[in-house]
């Protein structure tokens, strides 16, 4: 971005701080707008995928082809809806919740590496930053549930908070072997460690740096990938872990009392989070912006490869949503604490042994 703006005539004369400010806001606005549009497309895609799985059509009316302008109609609807306040609601908390959920999700986009020159901020603690900002969402969930003055919303919020903070542990532990291997939390470096042929992807064991021990790292990294994927479903409240927002028991869980733009923000935040966790999975495990075949890398722009891989994972999440039933709360907790965490700890330990053996 700085290079782009530096070329413009007026900009070079401004003092340093103003220039940085404008550059940063430019990046921020572009990211925000593009993600908002992307999220609208996800909501359309979810409805179409759901419909075709269920043998029906989905949105068809609005728009020239298969209801493509439906999200715009939805957006207009959200803007025009009446903003309903529940009586007895804790107003500051209730108003704060959508903002927190939205912010927590969007803050993560700053470090997502779309391409070698397309990272918002090249933080050295990129991965850690993402886990930190996704925890802001928990505060948002709890304030939504408490502030709604509704027992069912409270149930949803408490379940949601318990689920999100519990599943952050296997989420981060699953990525630890990769971090151990690469030696850095910087997302750009994690991707560059996977350049070359696709056997270099972490999902396939990164044979390039492990040599013949690639079999063992393949097993270890595959376990990480699957556990990461399952925990990420729980982080974003998708089926089979969508107990906080079940339709059959809790109406809508913590979003019950929200209408209009506030609900739209929460929905945006949720879909944005879905993309973030898919993007991280692609970054850490599936090669990032490298397509796996060096020839293609020279011609196809890096962001396109990255985004299409992430979109595929988003599609898999949608596919799972419409196939599986949901887990009950205590089963969810059991899976996290008694199954996933021991496996990730064992995985980390064994990979550590492997690395010491190799060194």
């Amino acid at each position: 971005m700085t290079q782009l703006l530096g070329g413009m005539p007026i900009m070079a004369d401004l003092p340093g701080w103003a220039f940085t400010l404008i550059a940063m806001s430019g990046v921020g606005i572009i990211l925000l707008l593009s993600i908002a549009v992307a999220v609208m497309i996800f909501s359309w895609a979810e409805r179409k995928v759901a419909a075709y799985i269920q043998s029906r059509y989905g949105p068809m009316e609005v728009g020239p082809w298969q209801g493509t302008l439906q999200p715009i109609a939805d957006g207009v609807k959200f803007l025009l809806k009446e903003d309903i306040w529940p009586t007895g609601a804790d107003k500051p908390l209730w108003r704060l919740a959508p903002l927190l959920i939205f912010t927590g999700a969007f803050l993560s986009y700053v470090v997502i590496p779309f391409g070698p020159n397309f990272i918002g901020a090249k933080l050295d603690v990129g991965l850690f930053y993402i886990f930190a900002t996704s925890s802001i969402v928990v505060v948002g969930i709890i304030s939504a549930g408490w502030g709604s003055n509704n027992k069912w919303a409270l149930y949803g919020a408490v379940r949601g908070a318990a689920q999100v903070i519990s599943y952050e542990i296997p989420l981060s532990l699953a990525i630890m072997p990769i971090v151990l291997h690469v030696g850095s939390l910087n997302l750009g470096e994690i991707i560059t460690a996977q350049r070359g042929w696709f056997v270099n992807w972490h999902a396939f064991g990164n044979w390039g740096s492990h040599g013949f021990a690639g079999i063992l790292s393949l097993v270890s990294f595959q376990i990480s990938l699957w556990i990461y994927f399952i925990s990420s479903l729980a982080e974003v409240n998708r089926v089979p872990f969508d107990l906080p927002e079940t339709e059959s028991e809790l109406v809508s869980g913590y979003h019950t009392e929200y209408s209009g733009m506030k609900f739209a923000f929460m929905m945006l935040g949720e879909y944005a989070d879905v993309f973030v966790v898919s993007a991280i999975a692609v970054t850490v495990f599936l090669g990032g912006w490298y397509s796996g075949i060096p020839v293609i890398d020279r011609f196809v722009p890096a962001p396109l490869i990255f985004v299409s891989k992430s979109l595929f994972l988003v599609f898999v999440q949608m596919w799972l949503r419409w196939t599986l039933p949901r887990l009950r709360v205590d089963q969810l907790m059991h899976v996290c604490w008694k199954v996933l965490i021991p496996i990730t700890l064992a995985n980390l330990f064994l990979y550590g042994l492997l690395r010491t053996a190799l060194a």
């Binding site: 089979p240 059959s248 028991e249 039933p325 887990l327 709360v329 059991h334």
Partner: protein
């Protein structure tokens, strides 16, 4: 996974220095109100919980009460048939059949002699069993919705549309048929409807296999429903539960076999009984499994009936225009998809019944939740209510 369905015990909290003082806590009174996203109808459940564990469930009904039994005292026997449709609206043909059978038995007991034509009896069985499949398809679909799998619902509705198309060809309506009449059925079976029934019978077994792969064997579904909502045979008998609830508890009791009516004794079918294949006998999975097996058995019965269908003939016995039953009272019961549907008709000799009471199976099945719901979690409560297959129209009349 180890025993994740045992009720959680509330541990008293103790800290250093606390002389075994438990934390002060209150039970939460919460209302699973009449408006539900899960499609059972307008049922209100008043739940007292301790966190997620339910201590008490009290169902409140009556939101759909439409005074059907009082209306019966003002309408003739023939006119009341349309009201029986609206009781269990998902299995309307079976409700019609129950009522018509009750009136016919009352007339026979009062001395009137008539013979329901063979053709009409076969049509009654075919249509009744088709409606049993349709009702169980809805039970299966909405149960998936309650557990969280939203796709089987649409697939079940697609099959149900095939059945409703058949019914539309036969009697002109898709939900409120009033097709059965006292003495037979109102119209005969057109040829294209018969063809469609055969086509449906051909494609249905594959669909059942698909449902099994999608939901029945799914580990998450099994974890949610096995060992949950266990209703044993003694509780069923105490509460008067019948139908899949009773058969899921291990008791082989089906009125089509144990108290045969119409021509059911000519058909060869099994009575599926819950065996606790993946959990305890009488849990939610067993009741669900009994319904899936019953759909298969129903298609067997329809296959046999279609093969032996007599040539087209009279579909209605000769009945007087103004029907008057001799004074007396009689209780007649049939096996509707939800259980034992009974009609107790009291006649005083006039053209309208003096009293027509309906014994609705879902009413008795519902109240089992008071016993089965204690100690479960709220999600389990939803699973149990779904497995009981309630239709509020029948409970409230």
């Amino acid at each position: 996974m180890n025993d994740t369905s045992a009720p959680l015990r509330h541990l008293p909290a103790t800290r250093e220095g606390d002389a075994a003082k438990p934390i002060k806590s209150e039970l939460l009174h919460i209302n699973m109100g009449p408006q539900h996203p899960s499609t059972h109808g307008v049922l209100r459940l008043f739940i007292t919980t301790d966190g997620e564990v339910v201590h008490n469930v009290t169902p409140y009904i009556g939101y759909l009460h439409r005074c059907a039994e009082k209306i019966a005292e003002g309408n003739s026997y023939h006119q009341y048939i349309v009201y029986t449709d609206r009781m269990d609206y998902l299995a309307a043909m079976n409700c019609n059949w129950g009522y018509c059978l009750a009136v016919e038995e009352l007339l026979r007991a009062g001395g009137m002699e008539f013979e329901i034509p063979e053709y009409a009896e076969y049509i009654r069985v075919i249509i009744g069993e088709l409606n049993r499949i349709a009702s169980h398809l809805i039970a299966f679909g909405t149960y998936g919705l309650d557990i969280g799998a939203m796709t089987p619902f649409f697939h079940a509705l697609r099959e149900r549309e095939a059945i409703l198309n058949i019914f539309e060809k036969v009697c002109g309506a898709r939900l409120m048929y009033s097709y059965y009449d006292i003495g037979g059925v109102k119209w005969d079976l057109p040829d294209d409807a018969l063809e469609e029934i055969k086509i449906f019978l051909d494609l249905f077994p594959d669909k059942l296999k698909e449902y099994d792969e999608l939901l029945t064997g799914n580990k998450i579904f099994v974890e949610r429903t096995a060992n949950v909502g266990v209703v044993d045979a003694a509780t069923c008998q105490d509460y008067g539960c019948t139908g899949p609830v009773l058969r899921g508890a291990g008791v082989s009791w089906d009125l089509r076999r144990n108290d045969t009516y119409s021509i059911y004794d000519r058909f060869d079918f099994d009575i599926p009984v819950g065996k606790g294949l993946v959990g305890t006998v009488g849990d939610c999975w067993d009741r669900y499994w009994v319904r899936m097996q019953e759909m298969e058995q129903s298609s067997r019965i329809i296959q046999q009936a279609v093969e032996r269908l007599p040539a087209r003939g009279e579909c209605m016995a000769e009945m007087p225009k103004n029907l008057k039953a001799a004074p007396g009272e009689l209780y007649t019961r049939t096996e509707s998809p939800k259980g034992e549907l009974g009609f107790y008709i009291v006649s005083d000799g006039g053209p309208v019944p003096f009293r027509c009471k309906t014994r609705s199976p879902a009413f008795h099945n519902l109240h089992v939740i008071v016993k089965a719901g204690q100690g479960q979690m709220i999600s389990d409560l939803c699973a149990t209510i779904g497995s009981l297959d309630l239709v509020l129209g029948e409970i409230d009349r």
